[in-house]
Symmetry: C2
Subunit: 333 residues, 2 copies
């Protein structure tokens, strides 16, 4: 039913190794032989087994991606990774985020991938250590964490916090609240640190009651906004840890009959496509995720092919303000 290189060899009247060499374009094979082999392969619709090939070469040309499938940013990250890897001859194996039960990560450790791209590392994760122990190349994208120091590609999340605050202050806001994210991720805690520093620099105090902590998603923003706005003196401006949270907050505001930005201003971080919809028109801080994803994929391939120095490489991508309609009354920006 399925044909092997041996079948092709028999049909072409050559040996199995010759088939291997001929199909891989080895110059040591006569053009005439190569043609005969190619014809036989075509006749049997032969496709080399990746399994046999991988076992023999000790390389799979496959990369594992650890991603949180429920993360709204994930559709932004995956396509660039896929394309960048494909362009360099690698394939992508997607793994869902799981708790730190290391047995769940066995697909990454059983030699079925040549390298790993981590997109949702928590600070306390042990996975990076296990990969390091087996000297499996890895790159951390977006978030960093774990014990070992490895290649990473992140945005300047601290600066993102600074920029978000600056946008609001320049629009005249001083009564500011925050829909914060989980402290166990570097993205969230770095952004929050930036926000707090910028507020402190401007002598603006951030009341504890004006900080609601949640996750990165839409629901979290919706619920957090309702909680913030139910206070006696709700803040007049809210910085959100992500665009998804901001858009959730935007919907909550709409439900509550609050006008944005007249009644309450909103600023997100990420600049996802949805933020640019005229229905949202969300002022935000751009995180260049597709570029970062591409960068990380190429970095990983470079690392796997030994094109990098032994010491880890760290790329920090710059962020920038995206001024739209939710942070200020004046449209003169």
């Amino acid at each position: 039913m399925v044909s092997t290189s041996r079948d092709v060899a028999r049909l072409a009247g050559v040996s199995q190794p010759t088939v291997s060499r001929a199909l891989r374009g080895d110059p040591k094979v006569t053009a005439e032989t190569r043609e005969r082999v190619a014809a036989a392969a075509l006749a049997l619709s032969y496709v080399p087994s990746q399994l046999g090939r991988s076992l023999s070469t000790q390389a799979t040309r496959r990369v594992g991606i650890v991603a949180d499938l429920s993360n709204p940013l994930y559709p932004l990250i995956v396509p660039p990774i896929h394309d960048a890897l494909a362009a360099r001859g690698y394939r992508m194996v997607l793994l869902a985020e799981r708790d730190d039960d290391s047995s769940g990560y066995s697909p990454l450790l059983d030699r079925s991938v040549d390298g790993v791209l981590l997109t949702t590392t928590r600070q306390k994760s042990t996975l990076p250590f296990e990969l390091h122990q087996r000297s499996i190349p890895m790159v951390m994208l977006n978030r960093i964490g774990g014990i070992v120091d490895t290649d990473s590609v992140v945005a300047d999340n601290f600066d993102a916090g600074l920029v978000a605050v600056k946008m609001l202050i320049e629009a005249g806001h001083r009564d500011i609240g925050m829909l914060a994210g989980p402290t166990e991720t570097s993205t969230s805690s770095d952004r929050e640190a930036g926000v707090r520093e910028a507020l402190a620099d401007a002598d603006i105090s951030l009341r504890q009651s004006n900080v609601v902590r949640g996750w990165f998603g839409h629901d979290s923003g919706d619920a957090g906004m309702r909680k913030l706005m139910s206070q006696e003196h709700p803040p007049r401006a809210v910085i959100c840890v992500s665009d998804s949270v901001a858009i959730g907050a935007l919907n909550a505001a709409h439900d509550l009959g609050l006008r944005v930005p007249q009644d309450v201003a909103l600023v997100g971080i990420d600049n996802v496509p949805t933020a640019s919809w005229s229905l949202c028109n969300l002022s935000t801080v751009s995180i260049p995720l597709p570029e970062m994803a591409k960068d990380a994929a190429n970095l990983l391939v470079d690392r796997m092919t030994g094109k990098l120095p032994a010491t880890p490489v760290h790329h920090v991508h710059p962020v920038r303000a995206v001024l739209r309609g939710t942070h200020t009354l004046s449209n003169d920006t």
Copy 2:
């Protein structure tokens, strides 16, 4: 650096096959031996090579997913597939949609997956035939197409078209336009056929100028809506081939200063999460994509494990109207 079953065998003082048996829980191994092997494996932090295992068993326990990464529905489909497969001991390999250059699909044909889940099949695609030729199990999800008859899981897209029209007619609309999708996909053409039949049944004519054809995405809805509305007598209601198109249209309407549904009504198809946002509040027809995805994944595993009859199985999932705020003035539904 990396340890093999032979290394474990040497350390435990047994043979390599015994290691294989012991770690796989073969009852023919003494408890005492099993423990000695387990201890040795732990000491060497041994993880069995999936490569060697697959080559020996002639099974990878991996499934390939062919998906269009730019399709907005894709984030709805992938997580349920992943989880359903994981629950039955399979992993997921994601492949980007490519043109029908069959060489691009070699990852599906080179024995590196046990089965394939097709989510973006075009009518003319040759991939199903090639898979069939190699007797690689496959299931078509959402869309169907290709020459061969195989297992499939789809929604009742024709009925979705009927339901969408019925919603508008019951709200009193008779001046109806359509943002249609590509004719080369079964989802789009079935929905369109349903719409046309329902309109004909109600003696409503669909003017050619009131049909704008595009793709499934947001941009397509935005552009199509602008084109529709720029006519001298634009339709008072628009049926969109997908929610993404409808939401693009919604944004265009917002930009054009048109009120929805007072100036123009909109109905989508899919019921994506975004449609339920209060900013959108989109009336639509629910396509149970997550359930379909789970169904398809389980169907594929059943097929791979020989639990299905030889004849192809076809599942058609029902659709239902989701009445929200964009199809009618009255909120009494």
